[in-house]
């Protein structure tokens, strides 16, 4: 149930869409919205709203159905520390963790695109970001509405 409200287009200005009322998405929950033919998952993280493309870039699962989780890290076996509560989503299929703020997959080695379907591991790459990145959309709150920019 999204209400589309477009600003008059000015060259390449982004279009804004009201996609939900703020009280429709509880803290720690997600909502699937469709805007201009795109399926987008909108998350409420402690009152802040974020949006990423709904389709998991791995095999196409619905990220809006994923489990919203904290970040669990360990520098030594058995010593787990918890941070970033509610800021990651685990894909409902293969469990890949995506950072809701940035859309980045947590588990990818650094890669360089060579050509279509062809990727090579960059030597000694640190693990931060990779091709399995969910597209991120700018979200703001206007009065009691969640507004998404395309």
């Amino acid at each position: 149930m999204s209400v589309l409200e477009k600003q008059a287009p000015r060259g390449r200005a982004p279009s804004k869409h009201v996609v939900a009322r703020t009280d429709e998405i509880a803290d720690g929950a997600a909502k699937l919205v469709h805007v201009e033919g795109r399926a987008i998952a909108v998350y409420n993280v402690k009152g802040e709203f974020f949006a990423i493309a709904n389709r998991c870039p791995h095999e196409g699962a619905d990220l809006c159905k994923g489990k919203i989780v904290a970040l669990f890290e360990a520098d030594a076996p058995g010593e787990v520390r918890i941070s970033r509560h509610g800021e990651l989503v685990r894909c409902p299929w293969h469990g890949w963790e995506f950072d809701i703020r940035t859309g980045k997959s947590w588990c990818d080695p650094a890669r360089t695109r060579v050509k279509s379907y062809d990727v090579e591991v960059q030597k000694g790459g640190a693990l931060v970001e990779g091709p399995y990145k969910a597209e991120v959309f700018k979200v703001s709150v206007d009065d009691s509405y969640v507004v998404l920019e395309l």
Partner: protein, 360 residues
């Protein structure tokens, strides 16, 4: 069979002389070989109780695959090794792996005594007699404090370059009960050598014992991959960034499938073992090495190259001959058409990079 490095010499650009052979076998020491190194108590134990012929069922030295027919040992085995291997291949170093049944003994004190005595025998009968020889250190995994003690005891003798264990052990190698061994090893620069074979504390397969030796040998790749997986999953490489495990006599091409499967699974199971911080494929490239004999490859050299390229690293393979086992091929084990830089790495560079204790 011609052991001269004619294939490589013919290629011209690279010399095979001065290579490092990372898997050589001595005959297994018998009780009489070990008695000089056992005190009065242990001499009595091994004599009256006939502790002898510690030969593993899963690495049976007396059977056909373990000895080239034209190399039946008679006379001094070191002289034979020099004549058949060290001299003709002009090796710079050869690493001795004494795959003895000491690893399978149940009595933890007897195991420790036999390991110590075997190491003494290796020093006096082998290392002291040919300066090209290096060795794996036998430590009793079944007696962790004694294993740590043995590592500390030998830390000063740089001719021991790694500690020896097997593809099939009592617990997966990554288990925390073994961590003191890795701590001592890492402290002194010993790597972990994991040789084909099992102490048969566990059946070789999910379905129990195989009927045939050939099945046991074929199934060793499963053992190697599960050991590597354990070391990764339990965080041994997280704890010891300089530690490496060398899969000896393993076949090599089981490694890329393991990299792919484990990396894929890890992306979805990461929270189970969050101390595994990198993709297992990357961890394997950093921490796992494999000796080159045997190589499970197709006959076509182009396809063989393609198979090796799946490792996405030319730093992993270490040259070995597996002397005197029947599949000894000298340098012929290496597929045709490998680029010179890769050959140089296999023959020498990778061994030096893997074993910090090598070369004094």
């Amino acid at each position: 069979m011609n052991v001269m490095p004619t294939k490589l010499e013919a290629a011209g650009a690279i010399t095979a002389a001065g290579a490092i052979d990372c898997d050589i076998h001595t005959p297994l020491p018998r009780r009489t070989d070990l008695l000089p190194y056992l005190d009065e108590y242990w001499s009595e134990i091994v004599t009256s109780r006939e502790v002898d012929v510690l030969e593993l069922m899963t690495a049976p030295e007396r059977t056909r695959p373990y000895m080239r027919p034209d190399w039946k040992p008679d006379g001094d085995p070191l002289a034979a090794m020099q004549k058949n291997l060290l001299d003709p291949l002009q090796l710079r170093y050869g690493i001795l792996n004494v795959v003895t049944g000491a690893q399978a003994l149940y009595d933890p004190y007897l195991a420790a005594a036999i390991c110590r005595a075997t190491n003494d025998w290796i020093v006096e009968k082998w290392l002291d007699r040919d300066e090209r020889l290096r060795a794996s250190l036998l430590v009793p995994f079944q007696n962790v404090p004694a294993a740590v003690e043995e590592i500390e005891r030998r830390a000063g003798d740089k001719r021991f370059v790694q500690i020896l264990t097997l593809a099939g052990t009592e617990l997966p190698l990554g288990r925390m009960v073994y961590w003191p061994i890795y701590e001592a090893a890492a402290k002194h620069g010993f790597q972990i050598g994991m040789h084909t074979g099992s102490n048969l504390r566990n059946a070789p397969s999910h379905s129990g014992y195989h009927s045939y030796l050939i099945e046991d040998l074929i199934s060793m790749t499963q053992g190697f991959s599960t050991q590597v997986a354990s070391l990764i999953a339990e965080g041994v490489f997280t704890r010891h960034p300089s530690l490496k495990v060398v899969a000896i006599e393993s076949g090599v091409t089981w490694v890329p499938p393991l990299m792919w499967r484990m990396s894929k699974d890890w992306r979805g199971t990461r929270i189970e073992t969050p101390w595994v911080k990198d993709s297992p494929g990357d961890i394997i490239r950093r921490h796992v090495r494999m000796t080159s004999q045997p190589l499970d490859l197709p006959d076509d050299p182009a396809e063989a190259k393609a198979a090796l390229s799946h490792l996405l690293s030319d730093e992993m393979v270490l040259f070995s001959t597996d002397y005197p086992h029947w599949h000894f091929e000298g340098f012929e084990v290496l597929p045709d058409g490998l680029p010179d830089e890769m050959l140089e790495k296999i023959l020498r560079t990778n061994a030096y990079a893997t074993y910090p204790r090598l070369g004094g």
